[in-house]
């Protein structure tokens, strides 16, 4: 083949794939621009480390996760709750922004990564994370959405950020009043222009994916106009600022030495919290978003990718990574689900930081805050909330987790929501359907320590009335050891007969499976007696 022909062929291939790769690149750029201010803000205001920590997390953290996690929608990078945990844990240990503090921050990240690795290696531990139910996650998402709006209010009004850990709702109210009374009006104008541009551009289907870019561009242009006419010293609009010192890669070592040991031991509880917070968010966000785009990714893979990334990132002077609800939501909204788009966001960010630092430097923070407010508002989606309000139990779980984000914190929301959800499902199991016809007592459900008292009550009243009972547990699918002992004791008293009216084919299948197990044919489960099968009569 001659040269022009080869070129033509590649041109054809490029042309055919252009729309898709173009879409990927736009999504990547949007993601990069949304991640950038978050990375800067989280590292400086929450974690107490220089901005490059967050930016490296948004570059390398995202890249590692893309490489290790097969999900098409997973976006890692810096995270609010994790950054805040770092700040809260390390504040008593060393003064922020110092060399020691940064060393401890890296150590903390590494320890969290190792703990997460444990969650991968010990299978049941990782499986526990799956017990967070959908209403809990959706409640958390709505809570985080509101929280993001509240948190961005001060930046939107050009006021210093409120970093105090206080009651978020009250802070929101105070911040709103502060913005109205003493906010920088120029900053508010920039923020409003960004917000309105985004909303209007969103209405045109062709430009939908670029709405945020348009908004930021409009905000930046207006702020530049203000700076040239009035001067930055008069408008006092905060900008992202100079990031030109940030390079391609910056190797670092966590702080582990003789003198640091007492402090390292002191921050172990913080590391456990950090690891759990990361995993909870990763597993929850991935499951929710995968379902939204109609797919499934094993949470073990996400745990693995998080754990390995967090073990590597401390050596690249970066904050730990975990799934980001708001950015994954953005990926979903933009409608392009591919790992290439997500990887391109990290590369875009690298390019921007390396070559376009002066251009980024003038992006006003109020515009960024407006974008985050928009993201937060988009996360509160009526279509997702509505199904949970149909069922009373789901409503309770949803509201509990939603309110817990606002009144406690993310961790509290997970705990409160999950405990409620598990309690409800246990309650359900503890009340089997028991019917008494003649002297036949039929049980549909579980026979286990929780449901035994309910069964016993009916059983003894039936015995009193009828003298003897036939216990029919054809529809029982699980009997635990306590249940077996109780049944054996009842049988020994000779007042009860057992009946198993399972359909014939079921029984045959059961028998076949049992013989297969005994003969050791069924492969990997050989030698492990099936718990359910053992208790079936």
């Amino acid at each position: 083949m001659k040269f022009p022909a080869v070129a033509l062929k590649y041109k054809a291939i490029l042309w055919r794939h252009w729309p898709k790769s173009y879409g990927n690149l736009v999504v990547g750029l949007t993601l990069a621009l949304v991640t950038l201010p978050q990375a800067v803000a989280f590292s400086v205001t929450l974690a107490g480390v220089p901005p490059h920590f967050g930016i490296y997390a948004a570059i390398w953290g995202v890249l590692f996760c893309v490489m290790l996690n097969p999900s098409r929608i997973f976006h890692g990078g810096p995270n609010t709750a994790m950054s805040a945990t770092i700040g809260v844990t390390l504040l008593p240990v060393a003064p922020p922004f110092g060399a020691e503090y940064m060393g401890y921050a890296l150590t903390l990240g590494l320890m969290a990564g190792l703990i997460q690795l444990l969650f991968f290696l010990i299978r049941p531990l990782g499986r526990m994370l799956d017990l967070i139910s959908e209403p809990v996650i959706n409640g958390m998402i709505c809570g985080i959405g509101l929280f993001l709006i509240f948190k961005s209010l001060t930046t939107f009004g050009g006021l210093p950020l409120n970093t105090e850990v206080e009651w978020p709702l009250w802070i929101a109210w105070q911040s709103l009043q502060a913005v109205l009374e003493i906010g920088n009006l120029y900053a508010i104008e920039v923020g409003l222009i960004t917000l309105i541009t985004c909303v209007i551009v969103q209405q045109f289907d062709r430009l939908r994916n670029m709405a945020i870019l348009f908004g930021i561009a409009a905000g930046t242009l207006y702020s530049e106009y203000l700076s040239t006419t009035l001067g930055l010293q008069n408008t006092l609009i905060e900008q992202i600022g100079n990031l030109s010192s940030i390079g391609f890669i910056s190797p670092s070592l966590p702080l582990f030495n003789q003198e640091a040991m007492p402090d390292v031991i002191a921050i172990v509880p913080g590391a456990v919290t950090l690891a759990l917070l990361g995993l909870f968010q990763t597993v929850a966000a991935m499951r929710r978003m995968s379902r939204k785009v109609g797919g499934f990714t094993d949470s073990r893979k996400a745990i693995f990718s998080d754990a390995v990334s967090n073990c590597l990132l401390p050596f690249l002077s970066s904050l730990p990574t975990c799934a980001s609800f708001n950015r994954m939501w953005l990926v979903h909204r933009l409608g392009i689900h591919s790992r290439i788009a997500i990887a391109s966001s990290a590369l875009w960010l690298l390019l921007l930081v390396l070559f376009f630092a002066p251009l980024i430097a003038v992006i006003p923070m109020p515009a960024m805050a407006a974008v985050i407010i928009l993201l937060g508002a988009n996360m509160i989606n009526w279509e997702d909330i509505k199904p949970h309000l149909a069922d009373r139990r789901e409503t309770v779980v949803f509201m509990a987790s939603f309110l817990s984000v606002l009144f406690l914190d993310l961790f509290g929301a997970v705990v409160v929501g999950s405990v409620l959800a598990i309690a409800y499902s246990k309650w359900e199991q503890a009340h089997p359907n028991i019917s008494l016809r003649g002297n036949v007592l039929k049980i549909r459900g579980n026979i286990y320590y929780g449901s035994l008292p309910v069964i016993e009550a009916t059983y003894y009243s039936a015995i009193e009335r009828e003298g003897s009972v036939i216990l029919d547990f054809s529809d029982c699918y699980y009997i635990d050891q306590e249940g077996i002992r109780w049944l054996a004791a009842a049988k020994a008293r000779q007042k009860v007969d057992f009946a198993d009216r399972r359909r014939k084919q079921d029984r045959r299948a059961l028998e076949r499976r049992t013989t297969a197990d005994e003969n050791g044919v069924s492969g990997q489960r050989r030698g492990k007696p099936d718990r359910r099968q053992r208790s079936e009569f």
Binding site: P160, V165, E166, L180, L185, E189, L195, I200
Partner: protein, 366 residues
Amino acid sequence: MPTPAGKLTRIVLLLLVLGGIYLLATQKHMQREEDRQTTVALTPACAAKLGRYGLAHGEHYQSPYALQRTGASITVRGYSEEDVRAIQRGCNIVDDTQGHLARDAGRERWNTTRFIRGTHANCNHCHQGIGDKQDADGNRLKGSLNLGASWVMADMYDRFTGLLLPFELRQMQCYINSSNGYKPNIADDVIRDVTAYSRFLSAALELKMGSHYDEQGIDEIAASATPKQGDDYVRGEALYRQKCQNCHGRQAFGLEANGRVVAPALAGPNSWNMQSRNYFYYVSTILPGFICRNMPLGEENTLSNQECRDIAYYISNLPRPAGDRQGPLVALQQQILMTVMPPLMRLTESAGKHEVPAERVPARVQ
């Protein structure tokens, strides 16, 4: 998908809401600006203090106080009319934080009550003498939390967290913990005006930037400064009954008369919280130091170090609000204690035995 008309309505609604917010913001800004320009109605104490220090706008400022005490005084750059108003408002806020003496408390005191839980807290309770406590001869007193002396030590490293704390952030700590309230924004006038007043005090007292003066902060009393008997709750209670109860009340819930705070609460919902450094279990040297140097009013420096520590220990055992960072469970526990304990205490004590006769309440305590 919503119809185009629906879409349009939603966008128009959104634009209206955002426009409304913008208009509201401009209106509130204008109101603030107007408040900054209006002449300040000084509280009586502030009028006396600022008059004595010769606060007026002009090219230069020379402190009459320093001139009178040392016979010489340096001339510094003067204050503009705007500066003078800010200093006056700052003085008002320190003297009358809750705005009882103001006609429109919200506007004249920059909504300070928004940042304070409870109805007692006032800057003047700890920073006595409007942040500049002096004896009859005009001598400044050791450990009296002088605001001017605090300003010249501004931007210190915090002893406990190692953070560089600007003067503004230290004011915020007062709001969060000492008044058990909320943090005003650092750019708020309420912070700026008190800073302006503190700066003026340092100029009026001729304090040198970066120097440490005795009247700055607390004269802390560590356990090592006592005869090493250990701090004792029982001794503390007896001393409290004897020295403090007359003004602060049997349960230390403070004393109010005619809607005015005569003596602030040392416990209960109106007092400082468990994350304040006044709280003995958090920092054990600060409250004893305050008591020794500033209490009882008019009889300062009469208590021994050990007595101060005992009283502080006793006071800190009384129920008080939890700090914001201690989480909802501790907050709930403290709320229950504050609600349940007082009636129980009243029940267990013999009624009428400890009543304080009205004539024993000092006329001017605040």
